[in-house]
């Protein structure tokens, strides 16, 4: 792990605060465990501060700024002391990076927190400098590029923006032996989850979700893989209701069995 070093310049390993979003903690614990294992297998010193709950996105997304404030403040207090914060969610990380300033601008530790909170894939590629993924995953996989990770964290090039194509998630998964990343007709259309949108606009939300699933099916995917469990929960809900043979998996669950270096 030569690329990783603590920010204080000492030769100790950086201390990572693991941020497991509330719904992952309660509903998808296996995604949290997979994330923890992926990081620990890299030799990273990971800590899970138990006081953590939620980043506040449901409230912020609903326009309730004052109900978001206590959660943003707690987050800073809990995670501000780590060298890095890593979460298996693009959306929650974007909340910290792109929206927390409204409540925390000017706080001494906030600049540090904002610039050192990472989504798992970007942490692996940009900070831990993982270049090699050694493992087997003989499946046809459709990659769901969730919007906030894509367009707010720039985990990849979005199809609208005319810059050189790149994709950090594909870079990791694509190295697995036997994996077949299928080509979608619409590479990054929204699945329609959108937080409270999923219930406020239930009909349009479900239509969007079904259209995404149909695209993955047409491309021959057996598994829809993503880095945001929220989108996967929405897609899985539709898949299970319609008893389709597809499965959803978080990227961490796929990388869990591989050796990263």
């Amino acid at each position: 792990m030569p690329a990783l070093a603590a920010e204080d310049g000492k030769n100790s390993m950086p201390k990572v605060g693991l941020f497991i979003p509330c719904y992952v903690d309660q509903l998808y614990p296996q995604v949290g465990l997979a994330t923890l294992r992926v990081l620990r297998r890299l030799g990273i010193d990971v800590d899970f501060p138990e006081q953590q709950t939620c980043c506040g996105q449901p409230m912020a997304n609903s326009g309730c700024a004052e109900y978001t404030r206590p959660l943003a403040e707690r987050f800073l207090k809990i995670f501000g002391k780590y060298d890095h914060v890593v979460a298996p969610s693009g959306s929650c990380v974007s909340m910290v990076r792109n929206h927390y300033a409204q409540w925390l601008e000017g706080r001494p530790a906030f600049d540090h927190l904002r610039t050192t909170t990472f989504e798992l894939c970007e942490y692996l590629v940009d900070i831990a400098r993982v270049v090699k993924v050694d493992g087997d995953f003989p499946s046809k996989v459709g990659l769901h590029m969730s919007c906030h990770g894509l367009r707010e964290l720039r985990l990849g090039r979005s199809s609208e923006v005319m810059v050189k194509p790149f994709n950090k998630v594909r870079f990791l998964l694509g190295q697995l032996r036997g994996i077949q990343l299928v080509e979608l007709t619409r590479s990054d259309e929204c699945c329609g989850f959108g937080g409270t949108f999923a219930v406020n606009e239930e009909a349009v939300s479900c239509l969007m979700g079904r259209d995404r699933i149909a695209d993955h099916e047409k491309a021959g995917a057996e598994i829809i893989a993503g880095f945001d469990t929220s989108c996967l929960m929405h897609l899985e809900g539709l898949i299970r209701r319609e008893k389709k043979p597809l499965r959803v998996m978080h990227v961490a669950e796929i990388l869990e069995g591989a050796k990263l270096s």
């Binding site: 509903l27 949290g32 465990l33 953590q52 919007c147 959108g194 937080g195 219930v199 239930e202 539709l238």
Partner: protein, 454 residues
């Protein structure tokens, strides 16, 4: 208040039609992608356009006055209007004072915004929209459903039926070429008989006092070349400082709007035709208030290309009418509540905040962040219903207390699997109408991590 979700319901219910609409607009988005890709400096163009717009908005009064001075020198008559009523009145007076009763219009979303057509028609003026799509919706007594593609919600069969009734085409005929020919000869008569022509303005140039109108059908040119009186109506944000700024905006506009390298007709007007009159009506109609709003003023940068509509997964699946405002889609979801937050309070929520609109916008309006921010306005103004605010207060209370969070989580995971399906999937649960809930695990991550060896 009937919200976007309710208004979208009938559109969403027609699965075949909604997918056809989605596909038609996605096709335009793909054409835009191909054109944008063909310009190596595309992103630099967007940056430049955004910067020019920001600069112009920061001193818009100066540029408008410069435009007025130069336009007057060119022999253009300039009218300033505070709102839609004043705008309609001025247009009517220009016509009435000269005894003109037959007006042909090329596409102008501003006149839709001001409801000019019914105002003039009530005063005995025959108004003919000459953009094909606009003529179609005018004959149907409907507003446009999209700012660039006004009749995108209609299929050729719908238009065949309409033209059969209104223009006497053969019953059941839906061949686009045949229908377009019929519209063409119908409109030709209107052009020949017109006494005045009205156009919108895509760009007004401060340093020359001229302006540019972009169309694909040449109808603006027909409408302004034949009759002696030309009235051009513009929202005040249409101003650009210099002629050379057009080199940025014209390259972005058609590519973003329809995926064409340039509009078929890009007409520069710098004065009245010989013996004729040219009027420019500059409209505020709420724009000053938006300009004064620090967070949302950037929405005035919009060049009305419609790209945010074509790319919006919600717009494509809910149709333009579900927004209930002249400008629908992501940009309309800002402009409408900026005008009336109570009437249009559901629109900032009619978005999954996917951000595709912000990435596609040629002038880089950060649309999805502005929609996110506008939701806070709506909560402050108590437009968001009390029960929703209360639910968030409760959620926030629980999430701010780890013990309450743990208890609530265990209760949910413990109780849900034991409840009968009819209860879990009852009417209270919009998530479950078409989706299964996640299967509730016995233990949370924070329980499981205790068993995890370091």
């Amino acid at each position: 208040m009937t919200g976007h979700a309710e208004k979208a319901a009938p559109f969403v219910a027609d699965d075949a039609r909604v997918h056809w609409h989605d596909q038609a607009l996605w096709f335009v988005r793909l054409k835009r992608d191909r054109q944008a890709e063909s310009i190596p400096e595309w992103e630099a163009l967007r940056d430049a356009a955004a910067a020019i717009k920001a600069h112009t908005l920061s001193r818009i009064a100066d540029y408008l006055e410069e435009f007025e001075r130069n336009a007057k020198t060119n022999g253009i008559q300039v009218h300033w209007t505070r709102d839609g009523a004043e705008h309609n009145d001025i247009v009517h007076r220009i016509l009435a004072d000269r005894g003109l009763t037959r007006l042909v219009k090329s596409k102008s979303m501003l006149t839709e915004e001001c409801h000019l057509n019914p105002y003039l028609e009530a005063r005995g003026i025959e108004v003919t929209d000459t953009d094909l799509g606009e003529r179609i919706v005018q004959l149907r007594h409907e507003p446009p459903s999209h700012i660039v593609l006004p009749a995108i919600h209609l299929k050729k069969e719908d238009i065949g039926d309409l033209f059969h009734k209104e223009l006497g085409t053969a019953e059941g005929a839906s061949d686009p070429k045949y229908l377009t020919e019929a519209a063409r000869s119908h409109l030709r008569q209107k052009f020949m008989a017109a006494q005045a022509g009205l156009t919108g303005v895509n760009f007004a140039i401060a340093e020359t006092g001229g302006f540019v109108v972009c169309t694909n059908e040449g109808n603006a040119d027909m409408g302004t070349s034949l009759p002696p009186v030309h009235i051009a109506c513009m929202g005040f944000e249409k101003i650009v400082p210099r002629t050379k700024d057009l080199a940025i905006f014209l390259r972005l506009l058609a590519r973003s709007a329809t995926g064409q390298p340039v509009t078929t007709y890009t007409t520069h007007f710098h004065g009245p035709m010989r013996g004729g009159e040219l009027h420019v009506v500059i409209v505020d109609n709420g724009r000053s208030a938006i300009l004064g709003h620090e967070t949302f003023r950037r929405s005035l940068s919009c060049i009305r290309c419609g790209a945010c509509m074509n790319t919006c997964p919600v717009f494509r699946r809910s149709g333009g009418y579900s927004y209930g405002y002249t400008v629908p889609g992501p940009i309309g979801s800002l402009l409408a509540p900026l005008r009336d937050s109570h009437k249009f309070g559901s629109l900032p929520f009619a978005s999954s905040l996917c951000g595709s609109c912000s990435d596609v916008c040629p002038v880089k309006i950060d649309l999805h962040h502005e929609l996110y921010a506008f939701r806070q306005e709506l909560v402050r103004e108590k437009v968001v219903p009390l029960y929703k605010r209360f639910a968030m207060a409760v959620l926030s209370f629980i999430l701010a207390r780890p013990w309450a969070y743990r208890v609530a989580g265990s209760l949910m995971r413990g109780i849900m699997p034991r409840l009968p399906r009819v209860v879990v999937y009852g009417r209270w649960n919009p998530w479950g109408r078409q989706r299964e809930l996640p299967s509730m695990p016995g233990e949370s991550f924070r329980d499981l991590i205790k068993k995890e060896s370091k």
